[in-house]
Symmetry: C2
Subunit: 752 residues, 2 copies
């Protein structure tokens, strides 16, 4: 059967089913139990969906897929095994699968009004009911908060967030006796276990707790249990935890005593919607935030949850979408696994809910189209109708500055975009226990491909063979360390000495962000606490200039210190070295560059003393050329390094960096450009524009207040970039003389 | 303007142009000069094309693109610089571009009948005419046969092959005087220079010479110069070269005195159409073979060139297409640059010509569709019409055995395919000067992704910064060496001691090839000369078994030797180590594994003594899991290596291998399976079927005549694979007793 015909058949069957069941369908929404479903589907929503079925392509297609998936599960039979495994093991995977299947079966029951799905969900829930009260704490001991179905309470909470929705969907299908049985033996003790019995998990501001709060709150909404709802919104009543205790990751368990869902919205989101742990964890956290918010909106509209903190939940979704590259992959700031993208199911939820409950941004519809999948609920219907009505517009990602911190005063993340280049500059706060020690670091992308990479996390999420799928020790010894990032490491020591309790007291400070000029986007920020006594001021620009084929990056790192130090300044380029304008030596044996703070994981593959003012390195990655031009002194060491030393289980990727090491220096400037240029085709074997367009870069002025860089192309045109190091934004006009020429401008920088 | 509208406009303009020029169009094909064009376009062909324009989408689209390209060139103006650069340098790139532009301008003149194109081509040719006689030999000295426009005669020949076509197209546009001028001062001396004045380049069997022959022959056909045509077909008359002299690559210049185009068809192609240097060079060589053959077919039909040697030219194209992976990339046997594919222009020529002058295989139309481009000549018209008429069918790649050698008696290449797995097994002859020392080596692919890689060449073709775009010294010290390949290296020495004159005397011998069984494909071959006194018999199978998710590879290497040796047996896997079933040590410092024969380029990253009968290694590549299970003795060394030692310019890719080292051993067996299994999604973070399905592999019998392997799955089902080491194909029935059980079968192998 071809695909079109198949869809048509499914729809025909659906319509037939609906006409046959009209009576019972109406019954569902007119009896005294009409308050169910009410959580993510509403009685009215179900009516509307049923009325539109067969005419809303993306919804119909999603429904068809989900139906096929659940029909196969029903065919395969129910399995509710006794828990025993870590992530990736069978019992873990099966229970995880069950929560998905239950939720979908519930939704199918509502939309298709076919009792087969309700019966299946009921049967599985009854097996859980029978099992749950027999369960001890999970036998695997690695977690600070062990669950019962899973090795960590976090996964138990995931389960309840989904299963609450299933319960809501089949609520009216169940007898009162059945409901009492489930609530008494399964849901209520389940909710109590992950909250009251695990306060270290539940009673804090952390993405884990958000799941816990949402789980307790959602089952509370279904059960109409105000005590559970309050426990979800405000935390466990009258419970105060030791504010100095830490968790496995080194984060404080509950430093300021805040807890509950509202505190979890309040604390981690900045007013711009940036989530303090970064996009990878925001993606993970979004689902419970939004699905519980949707439930609250539907059941407790008086809470006006989507307006909470100036509508930050909806704002955060747009922030999150902007924190993705051209392919939709999230920038791996802090602990982030590469490849996670807005195709993740949590983002389907996020996009659909923010469309429906937000301002119906037509840009979101284009992302929903790419996702090719909608929620099977009221919001998914809204999206499907929007797409059907041709309202989708491209989601335009812009250069954007996202503040960090509950009040937006703890630094932030700046994203500069021009044509295919994207630069992500991090000057944020620590980022909770998933934060990396990388103040003023950046990564650079061209059309979704990494040019200068951020390593991301050291973990193979859910691949059991790699440390149970959990964080590997190299996450701490390598991925979190400063030297793993594209920023300054002073004296081979990480920022804040790699100490979480110091790092979490500080954040960098924005100097300025400027994105008004179509051709020049700049972000500049200062860090004074990473190394006490040393001030780092980094200004980064993406500049589109007519003399260049593509935009280029300009990077000015100004260091002012009380003492003489060693500064390491790496560039984690990806790809193959094409050319260097300096000679270098490559050692016979490769040895680690150091013994600690991440240096133990770097092999030294080549080195030299710099001999010119401008050191240049070109490389080829994914058939595109790149050239770094960087100011060097004759005493600078130029190092080629490669990740992978002291990595006894091959947990790290063998990727390269080029590094400038400047020793015994107090105040200094690192200035670099990175050009993206040309291309190579292995099919036509033609190399186009494979050489740098820059003849020289030069510092023409460097004072406390200003730094000026001259960039001269191979055709001898020179452009001057001047950045204001102080008073960047509050000075109406800047005046300056450089080499007997007067410069006068308003704004934070000058470029001409 | 949107795309459709644009195409429509172009077509309208074309039609308008045609109607206005009807008279002159007719003139072109009705005057006494009607024999032009005759080479790749014919007078009748031009008529047909003009008649169909606007109704043949793929042709129209190609024409539109080519027109836009040449219009832009005409706009930019002509540049014919004085030659000075190597590949990648400006003058090289410009002259290379010019030959393309001239050919296209000529074709456009014929098809569009617009004098602008003829004038442009004429003007440029006249600049070449003015320049050529002033030119000394090219100033760059690296080549054994320096050109005048380019650093090597090869590129001069490329130029003439294309420019002959241009000349043919504008022949009637030029006055007799202009033609005389061009022929006397440019074409004739050009043809003489690349042939008579460079006999070492011209007078041999080699892809370089093929270009030379075609160049001389094509200009001969246009000029109707029988002497040049004969020189092209049969070589320079009465010239005998020293048969012991060698070229830069270590190949004999002319070992047996053969020369000319026909000899170049005769020698390198086997009767199955396999080209002895491998697919990368076949692709390169195909263009002159086919374009000159097309010209000969049109001008000298009596030669029946497409029937020469049982139609080997057309056969070779199907062989070449079968030598590509699922993405159309050619297997990098011998010197081959990865990424070269049937999207290369030479393959557009190959596919169109073999469709038109061959048997109109509808499978070729589907490849032409993927190429999305046709030749702007008679054959391209035929393809465009075939596609337009809906005749395209999928090009089905099968398991295929391609013999090597002029008579098909010098070994060959076997390709085993099942579902997404492809295994390429090389048991061929040396492969001329581009051959690698890798008898009985293989590479393995899953759906176009390399699982076990062949390194390919060490060269960045046409990237000037990397050794002028030419072969790097690592091609010889690494890429050609045996240890760079997935086969046996004995005593850390390459096959034939890495000596070309020894290697080129030998080839491996097929034991059997079997592809009839849908589920089991097997190739088996023997090598007796790589290491005198040692016989290598390798049997490789791709097996689809119901107990496995995907097909798996079985590899049996049987070694029989007069002496005790050290055997190294590497697996060049790509990706990240997931799990090993053995403990291993990783050194603090990385050192080269050896000092010569390629070993100097391998770092030792880990090692251990094997402690079990079955050593297992799993890895993850491109989100798919793989597991090697290999028989090991307790004395075996298990090594992890990485390419990149002694690589002072970062010319080599830092890729890994797992290697078994068996010391002080005379006769032995290496037996391995590689399973492709499961998948990982970084978006859903789910790992599916991430573990091996094999519990154990075991040798249950090993005699001179038979080797039998038992493969037991984790569910304890056992299958037996028995291969006939002798009398594989000429024995009607095999009978055997293993562990008190009788086995009886006909055919070369048993599997059940």
């Amino acid at each position: 059967m071809n695909k079109k015909l198949k869809i048509f058949s499914v729809i025909s069957i659906l319509l037939f089913a609906l006409s046959c069941k009209e009576e019972s369908a109406l019954k569902t929404v007119t009896t005294e139990e009409e308050q169910h479903p009410k959580l993510i589907l509403t009685a009215q929503g179900v009516k509307d969906i049923r009325a539109q079925l067969g005419t809303i392509p993306i919804f119909d297609k999603t429904l068809e897929k989900v139906k096929a998936e659940i029909d196969a599960e029903i065919e395969a039979g129910i399995d509710v095994p006794v828990p025993k495994d870590y992530s990736g093991g069978y019992t873990h995977v099966r229970h995880k699968r069950n929560w998905v299947v239950l939720q979908k079966a519930g939704v199918l029951y509502q939309i298709l009004d076919d009792e087969k799905y309700a019966k299946y969900a009921k049967d599985m829930l009854m097996q859980y009911e029978a099992l749950y009260n027999t369960l001890p704490v999970h036998p695997k001991t690695r977690s600070y908060a062990r669950g019962k179905l899973f090795w960590q309470c976090l996964n138990d909470s995931n389960w309840l967030v989904y299963v609450s929705q299933a319960y809501d969907c089949i609520y009216t299908y169940l007898s009162e006796e059945e409901r009492n049985k489930l609530e008494k033996n399964l849901f209520r003790p389940f909710a109590d276990y992950i909250s009251i019995e695990n306060p270290k998990f539940y009673q804090r501001v952390h993405n884990h707790s958000t799941w816990g709060n949402a789980a307790v709150g959602m089952i509370g909404l279904v059960m109409d249990d105000q005590e559970l709802i309050d426990r979800a919104l405000y935390g466990i009543k009258d419970l105060k935890l030791n504010t100095n205790e830490k968790d496995d990751d080194g984060g404080y368990l509950n430093k300021d005593g805040k807890a509950g869902f509202l505190a979890n919205i309040e604390e981690p989101f900045s007013p711009d919607g940036y989530y303090n742990e970064g996009p990878y964890y925001q993606r993970y956290a979004m689902y419970p935030f939004l699905i519980f918010a949707e439930g609250l909106h539907n059941v407790k509209p008086e809470l006006k949850i989507f307006e909470y903190k100036n509508g930050v939940l909806i704002k955060s979704i747009k922030a999150l979408l902007n924190l993705s590259d051209a392919d939709g992959d999230f920038f791996p700031l802090n602990d982030g696994q590469k490849g996670m993208s807005y195709y993740n199911n949590a983002l389907v939820t996020a996009v659909d809910i923010s469309y429906h409950y937000g301002d119906q941004d037509p840009g979101l519809l284009s992302i929903a189209k790419e996702q090719n999948h909608v929620l099977l609920d009221d919001s998914g219907l809204a999206v499907a109708l929007g797409i059907k009505n041709g309202e989708a517009k491209p989601f335009e990602k812009k250069s954007i500055n996202l503040s960090d911190g509950p009040d937006g005063t703890q630094g932030g993340v700046g994203i500069l975009r021009n044509e295919d280049l994207e630069l992500v500059f991090k000057y944020a706060a620590q980022g909770s226990s998933h934060g990396h020690y990388d103040k003023l670091s950046y990564s650079l992308y061209e059309n979704g491909d990494e040019v200068i990479q951020d390593y991301g996390l050291a973990r193979f999420v859910n691949i059991e063979q790699k440390g149970g799928g959990n964080y590997l020790k190299e996450n701490k010894t390598w991925a979190k360390q400063t030297i793993a990032h594209n920023t300054i490491t002073q004296n081979e020591t990480s920022h804040f000495s790699g100490k979480y309790d110091i790092g979490s007291q500080h954040h960098s400070v924005l100097n300025y962000f400027s994105s008004e000029n179509e051709n020049v986007k700049v972000v500049s920020a200062k860090e004074e606490n990473a190394y006490p006594g040393t001030e780092l001021l980094r200004t980064m620009a993406i500049i589109k200039d007519e003399a260049f084929e593509k935009p280029f990056m300009l990077d000015i790192m100004k260091i002012t210190s009380d003492t003489a130090n060693q500064y390491d300044y790496p560039f984690y380029f990806l790809g193959q070295v094409i050319k260097a304008n300096f000679e270098y030596n490559t050692p016979e044996s490769l040895n680690a560059l150091g013994t600690k703070n991440g240096y133990q994981h770097l092999f030294l593959e080549g080195s030299t003393k710099s001999s010119t003012d401008n050191s240049k390195l070109s490389w080829l990655n994914k058939n595109k050329f790149y050239t770094l031009t960087t100011l060097t002194n004759t005493n600078d060491n130029l190092l080629f390094t490669r990740i992978g030393a002291n990595d006894p289980e091959f947990n790290l990727r063998r990727e390269a960096a080029f590094m400038i090491r400047r020793e015994n220096t107090q105040n200094t400037l690192f200035v670099s450009t990175i050009e993206a240029h040309g291309s190579y085709s292995p099919v036509s074997e033609s190399a186009i524009n494979s050489n740098s367009n820059i003849k020289a870069i030069e510092v023409v002025l460097d004072t406390e207040d200003y730094t000026a860089i001259a960039i001269t192309t191979i055709n001898d045109t020179t452009k001057i970039f001047i950045t204001a190091n102080t008073n960047a934004s509050n000075k109406p006009t800047h005046k300056l003389e450089i080499n007997n020429k007067n410069y006068e401008w308003s704004g934070s920088y000058y470029f001409k």
